[in-house]
Each structure stands twice: as C-alpha cells, then as structure tokens.
Amino acid sequence: MSIENFEVKAYPEMWESLGMDVARFDKSRQMLGEVFSKTYLSQKNRPAKMKYFDGLIAEIFGGRIKEMLEVKKTGKPIVGTFCVYIPEEVVVAAGGVCVGLCGGSQGSIPDAEKILPRNICPMVKSAYGFKAGRICPYFQVVDFVYGETTCDAKKKTWEILDRLVPTHVMEIPQMKKKRDKQLWLEEVKDFKTRVEEVCNKTITPEDLGDAIKIINNKRKALQRLTRLRANHPAPISGKDGLLIEQIAFYDEPVRFAEKVNELCDELEQRLQNESGVVEKSAPRIMVSGTPMALPNWKVHNLIETAGAVVVNEESCIGSRYFKDLIDESKVDVDAQLDVLTDRYMQIDCSCFTPNDDRVDQVLKEYKDSNAQGILHYSLQFCHTYNIEEIKIREACEKYEIPYLSIESDYSPEDVGQLQTRIEAFLEQIREQ
C-alpha cells in the first residue's frame, strides 16, 4: 500500500442497511484515508509487519464491521464501550464482541453541539456526535452501549445518549477502599447478567477462563511491544505504537495478539541488527495523560515531525489498558469475577481520589521506557487529569525530568502554538 493508492474502503450498501448517513459518512471515510496516508504511510523505515494494521484501517468501516455482523447473526452480544473499566472478558466469554466506540474526531462535534453544552470534554462530544449524526458504523452495529461514571460529562451524557441507543451505566467507585471493591464487584455481576440476557446463555467457568486467557494474551502482546519500544534507538515510531494501541479496542483479540507478536518478532530482529526507526540522537518522549482515541494523532505527529520519537503512552489508550493481568488459576465463576475485579481496581484513572499510584506509575514507566522527557497531555475540560497534572509536574520537578504540559482538543487551530511549544521542549532536552 503506497501513499498514492491507499484508501479506506467504502461499503455504501452495508452502511445504508445500518441506517447511516451514507453521503456524509463517505466524506469522512475519504478524509480518514487521506490523513492516514499523510500521517502514517509517509513515515520512513516502517516495520513491514505494520501492513496488517494499515489493512485494518483500510477495512475499518467494512471488513471489521462485517465480522461483527456475522457474530451478531448468531445471537451473540456486540457491546460498545468508552472506557478501560468495562470488563471485556465477560463479553468475550459470551462469545460476543466488545468494541471501543469512536470518539476522537472533530468532525462529529458539531452534531453533538446541537444539543450538548459546548464547554465539555471533546471526547464525550465527539462520541455523542457520531451516534447523533449516524456517522459511525460501530455505533450502528452494537446491541447496547456500556457507559461508566468516570466523569460528570460522561455520566450525564449517557442519559441523553440512551435516547438514541440503549445505554447502560456501570458505577465506578471513586476511592479504593474495601467497600469500593465490593461495589465494583456487584457492578461486574450486573454487567454479566445483562450480557447473558442478550445472548440467552449462561457464562460457564470454562467460557470465562478462556476469555481471561484471550484478553491476558492481548495485554501481554502489548506489554511486549512496549518493552521493545524501550530500546535505543526505538525500533518503531510512536505513531505506529499508538495506532496499535488504538486498534486494540476494535480488532478481534486472538488475531490481534498474534499480529502484534509477529510485529514484535520483526522488531527483535531489528534490534539485533541495531537498526532503529530514528537516529540515535532523536529525543525520546513519553506521553502521559488522557487517551487519544482514533484518529487523534495530533500530538504524536507534532512530536515526531519535530524529529523526536514517542516511546510510551501512559494513558487509557496505552499502558493503563494493558499493564495489569488477571490471575488465570481460578476455576469457578465467583472466584474468577473476584480476581477480575482485583485487576480492574488496579487501574489508576484520575477519577479516583487519592490516586498517587499513578504518579509512581508515571515515574516507573519513564524509567522503564528510557525516555528523556515527559509530555503531559490533557483534553480540554478534563478536570481530573488537568488537576492531577499538578502532582505529575511536581514529581518531574523533584526528579529533574524535562516536562511539558499541554491541554488541547481535536481542532487543528492550536497546531501552530503546540508546534512551537513542542519544538522548544525538544530544544531543552537536546541542550541537556
């Protein structure tokens, strides 16, 4: 696939049958293809095994949707989510598909602003807009959406979204006391019941055990990729790393893990030949903060265009999604759900208070990834990450880690300003 002939494939008939606004959606499809080839296919020295992931972008509105429709035909559940707290193991145990829904694009925000307030998180607006404008095939395929209470904007938007697509909400605790785990366990059990209702099937310990292994394997593959990115020079670009982390939320998990591992084999080969994707002198940046949902490649693109390489994402679309695994030794459903809940309670989202584990995790990942500076990224109006940024900044000051904090949304209007800040940050690192 060369830059010239790459396109995101069109499936107008299928889109029509899904009740989409086909004419409008087709324009976003073309735009995604153009942005992807400009941002991704123009990169030099890409690993050959990225071809699979490029292919998934080409088929993002077609091939993968078809697969989901096949699953749906058999009566299995298709569950849409927006958060790493929704236990996908339960959906996979029921033979269903758990898919992270669209929420990373400026294009759907005007649809949302017809009804939602303007001064709220762009991810929430973008997500709502995709459904309201009927411009996301994944939204059209799902049986229901599972939302959560990680922030006020999401929590209240689910009530409005429910008018367009059945939206259930899991209550995420805000602290990590013993009774909070109990609350979360009850929520997980309710979730399981809801999934079982849709597919009219009781999840067995074998089903759940297999699903835990499948998702553990997916997370392990991503951990392996992250470890490889820690090498100097980095064997793969940060943009490609981020792309894979984004695709992790919609690809079939077994195949995905296999393909990530194949890519890792190639990267290991590269390391043996000491060939990196960038020069050894390129500054190594770790990105920490709020998730970058597909196709939000803005910050990575600015960093790497300025000659640096991103080596780690401490984010929900990043290490927060795959750093913890579930104990695979349990053989009855209650015990399995208990260890599953333990794993999910380790997620260090800024919606918790206190959340000092995250500060330690950021420092640990900084060290593990051999980065030379941290860029903290927060979406506009994301109060919890924006305020928690104070503690991350203080920790960086304490350990003399070069640090830059930016707050942005999906619009391109601040690209010039961000470029100057990022380049100045890289100048700072290069002069050290």
């Binding site: 300003q417 100057t420 100045a424 100048e427 700072q428």
Partner: protein, 252 residues
C-alpha cells in the same frame, strides 16, 4: 556574517551580527508572502548563515534559512545578549505572550505561552487603541495620564471591545478606559509570571515592551524591576543571529 530572521505574526525582523557586534537591523510589517518579503529584506545584507525563528520559521527554512530555532530559544539568547545575568524573560509580541525561565547558565528551564487567543498580546492593545481613537504610540502615554482605576472584565478581544464601547457611551474619559485596557493586560501578564515564578528582575521583550504604561504598571504589579532592551522587538531576531554563530551549519 550571522543573520537572524524573526518571522513574527505581525512583523518581520532581521538582525545581522559580526564578531558579536550587532551591525544593523530592519523591520517590516508581515505581508502575504512572508518568506519572499524576508528574502527581499535580506538582500541588503552580505551573505551568511541564516537562522529563522517565529511563526514563519519553517516556511523560511523551506525557502532560504539554514536552520530554525523556536522563539523561546531565540528570546533566551537575545535577552542574554542585552542582560547577561537574566533569569526570567517576558515576551509580548503581536499574537502571543510567553514567559521563559533560564538556568544560571542561560539554558531554558521552563516556559509558558498563552493559549490559542490574542488576549494580553500586542494585537489586543492595537484593537483597543483603534476603538478609542488612539494610535498605538499614543496609547500608552494617554493611559499614563489617567489616575483613575476603572476595570475591564473581559480578556477576550472581541468581548473587551464591546465593553470598551459601552464604557465610552457611558461617558468615561478615553484616557481612563485606555488605562483600564492596560491594567487588564498587565493583570494577565502578572498572572503568567507568578505562575512560573520570577526573581527581582525580569527582561521584557517584544514590541509591547515599547509601551511605557505597560512597563510601569507591570513593575508595581509584580514588585520586580522590569528591564527593557534598547530594541525590544528585535530580541528574537538577535537571538537567532547569535545562534547562527553557534550553528553547525555555519557557512561563513
């Protein structure tokens, strides 16, 4: 010869340095094709290493510049040229304002820039001056003549302009409103300086440093001495020219 070109949002500045001495400089308002304009401005100089900075730096590199540095680094180098011990720089240009902290050795240790709007910048002052019937050079001295502290509440250029219009129409003298505009800019700049921290002395660069009212109000607001170099709007171009002497692409 070392040449520094600062392609700013409102003006283009060129500075030439030979043997650490600033030989000459020139400044023009930015037109539609800033790279072409900058190249024309460079014609009066002998050839040398050209370093570009400012918003148009990458465009300049595409056409003629040997290397680029950010405005942050350029101002750090330029400010040290005038004040060798300086640790804090406030730069207020046409469309943005920034605060830069330096280490003792002169390296950038921290910086802040305004967000994506013109509040507290040169453009804000220009628009307010026009709506009050002043030229930009009269604006500061008019404000200094007023002893009244009237407040403008809006920092948004568009909203502040309508606030100014309603103040005019309620009979408040133009000089008092001018002072209110200056106070609002100073309050924003003071906030940025306090956020990043500063010592007893700050260097104030960028075209807005030519406004004596801003300088005076800022000194009393932050309780520090505000040092303004002789040509504050040239600090970026001078910094770029200084960098030309250190650059690896030095071609004489």
């Amino acid at each position: 010869m070392q040449l520094g070109v600062d392609l700013g949002s409102r003006t283009i500045k060129v500075a030439a340095i030979v043997d650490d001495i600033l030989l000459c400089h020139t400044k023009q308002e930015s037109g539609f094709e800033p790279h072409q304009q900058a190249q024309d401005m460079l014609k009066q100089f002998q050839s040398g290493t050209i370093i570009a900075t400012g918003y148009g730096r990458h465009l300049a590199q595409k056409h003629f510049a040997d290397e680029v540095i950010t405005e942050i680094k350029a101002h750090a180098l330029g400010a040290r040229h005038f004040f060798p011990d300086c640790r804090t720089i406030l730069d207020v240009g046409g469309q943005d304002c920034k605060v830069i902290s330096l280490t003792q050795a002169g390296k950038v240790s921290n910086f802040q820039m305004n967000d994506k709007c013109a509040a507290g910048t040169g453009r804000f002052l220009e628009i307010m001056a026009v709506s009050l019937g002043y030229t930009i050079s009269e604006f500061g001295s008019a404000a200094l003549e007023s002893g009244q502290d009237v407040a403008i509440n809006s920092m948004c250029t568009v909203f502040a302009e309508s606030e100014v219009i309603s103040m005019k129409n309620s009979g408040i003298p133009a000089a008092d409103i001018a002072r209110a505009v200056h106070l609002s800019v100073v309050s924003r700049l003071g906030g940025m300086l306090n956020r990043i921290g500063h010592g007893d002395e700050i260097v104030f660069s960028g075209g807005v440093a030519n406004n004596s009212c801003i300088v005076q109000l800022l000194e009393s607001k932050i309780g520090a001495r505000v040092c303004v170099p002789s040509s504050p709007d040239l600090v970026g171009a001078i910094g770029a020219a200084i960098h030309a002497g250190k650059s690896a692409v030095n071609c004489g």
